[in-house]
């Protein structure tokens, strides 16, 4: 059996890649994909622990997290569509009407 910490290290790496993607990319959809990567890294962590503890609890959590991510994607894509209507681009740096 593969030791649990292998999965944990992999998920930590995936999460970090996701965070870096959010911070460096400027295309709205790419940022959103990076956030999805973070969420999936979390799912991997939950599954690894659930396997180690022989619990269903962590696996049920994963189902809910997937449902949350799907709901967020539905609303998020509508927001990007609306942004595209206004600006003809989904570059988030272009969304700069408000400054202090």
């Amino acid at each position: 059996m593969i030791p649990t910490h292998y999965f944990l290290i992999l998920s930590a790496i995936l999460f970090t890649i996701g965070v870096c993607g959010v911070l460096t990319r400027r295309n709205g959809i790419t940022i959103f994909m990076s956030i999805e990567l973070m969420v999936n890294a979390v799912n991997l962590t939950f599954l690894a622990y659930a396997r180690q503890f022989h619990q269903l609890h962590g696996m049920i959590f994963v189902f809910f997290v997937m449902a949350i991510a799907a709901a967020e994607a539905a609303v998020g894509l509508a927001i990007f569509l609306s942004l595209f209507h206004h600006r003809e681009t989904i570059d988030v740096d272009e969304a700069n009407l408000m400054h202090w």
């Binding site: 973070m38 619990q55 202090w100």
Partner: protein, 486 residues
Amino acid sequence: MNLTPLLEAHWINAILPELVLCIGGMFLILFDAFAPKARSLTGPIAVVIFILCAWSQRFVAVGTFFGGTYEVGGITRVFDITFVLAGILCTLLSADYLEREGITGGEFYALLMWGTVGMMMMAKGLDLLIIILGLELLSICIFVLLGFQRRLPVSNEASLKYFLMGAFATGFILYGTALFYGATESTNINVMARWFANPDVTITPLLTVAFVLLMAGFGFKLALAPFHPWAPDVYQGAPTPVAGWLSVAPKAATLIALIRIFHAMGPVLPQTKWMTIVAWLAVLSMIIGNSVAIAQRDLKRMLAYSGIAQVGYMTIAMLTINEDAVASIAIYTIVYALMNLGAFGVISMLAKNQNDPQTLDDIAGLGWRRPFHALALAVCMFSLSGLPPTGGFVSKFYIFRTAVQSGHTGIALIGIITSIASVYYYLRVVYYLYMKESAEGQTRIDGGIFATGALAISIIGIFLIGIWPTPLFHAASYAAHLLLAR
């Protein structure tokens, strides 16, 4: 996980207020679709549904439900009342605002109600899963509400900013939860509390990372510095009543969820530096919020920075979880809901959509043209700055007293000093209201009957709590006692 408790008796009584709001929201959407001629009635019906929800609190069963994941008690009742109050005020303000802006659609109020359900789940959740589900239900409703004026680019931009930052923050909360699950083998707060209470427990660096991730996520939802930069932009771009609601209710829900989590961690907090992190967040919020607010001329941005500072005050009380701390936060959130929604209410009546900034010049000389609306704004500003005899004074005093009694004198002192500095920008609004001449071509104030009613509720509430706070204090202290007695 044992699934049979789902069928336990009285479960319907446990979630009665949530059921009322869920069904009420669906009814409003159908009503809007099938009776388009009676659209002007959706606002009043929404208020009635909120009042029904408050009334249904009488029949709520107290206890733990759904396999130990959902706890209903005195403190959740106090917070439910806060959420419903914020919902009613926002609905009343929106009824006139939406008509003026030409927005139709019963889904506006439905989203407000479902967001309130999410907050109730956060307040009652005894499992991190329930808290996160409530948080997401709330967040998704907020994304849509912020972008509700989709023809306006700023509204869309506010929605985009909150969406990206909110989804990012949720990722942090989830990862923090996963790491805590790895240590405690459960996401149930009571089971976690038992694990933390074990004297042999060692705090690994991984747990500290988990706590930092959790605080980063919740700090974003609370608009605590340094996670605050979204707040001014989002408030400025959002429909004004929604901005008022957003600045009040989700913060209250996040605070009560954090109180539960901190209480569970209580036994290990002395051997960690976790509360030092929280203290720094509070100090930064108070300093940044109050000093940047001075530089703002846009009223909504000023209130956004003032909100950052106000959350800083509430966070001070959370540094040590005891009865006084919980009670003072509960009272502060109620008063904050009244005064902040009142202030946003007056701004929402300025006959200007949010594409143009609503600045101090728009309210110059208002005291002589519209005495009642000016008075409401002035009372809210006095209360926000914490001057007696308003509710703001009482609640702020209680917060700082709790902090000093728990031994956080230095931080309380920073709070008091920054709070004195804040009087400058709050009273500058009053100065513009009464001492400035109104220029030609002044912005009109369009206050309908509903919005004026909301302002009246705010003023009465602020003075009632300011002059006669004893019943509320007793109720909150008793509720806090029950929460912590476990």
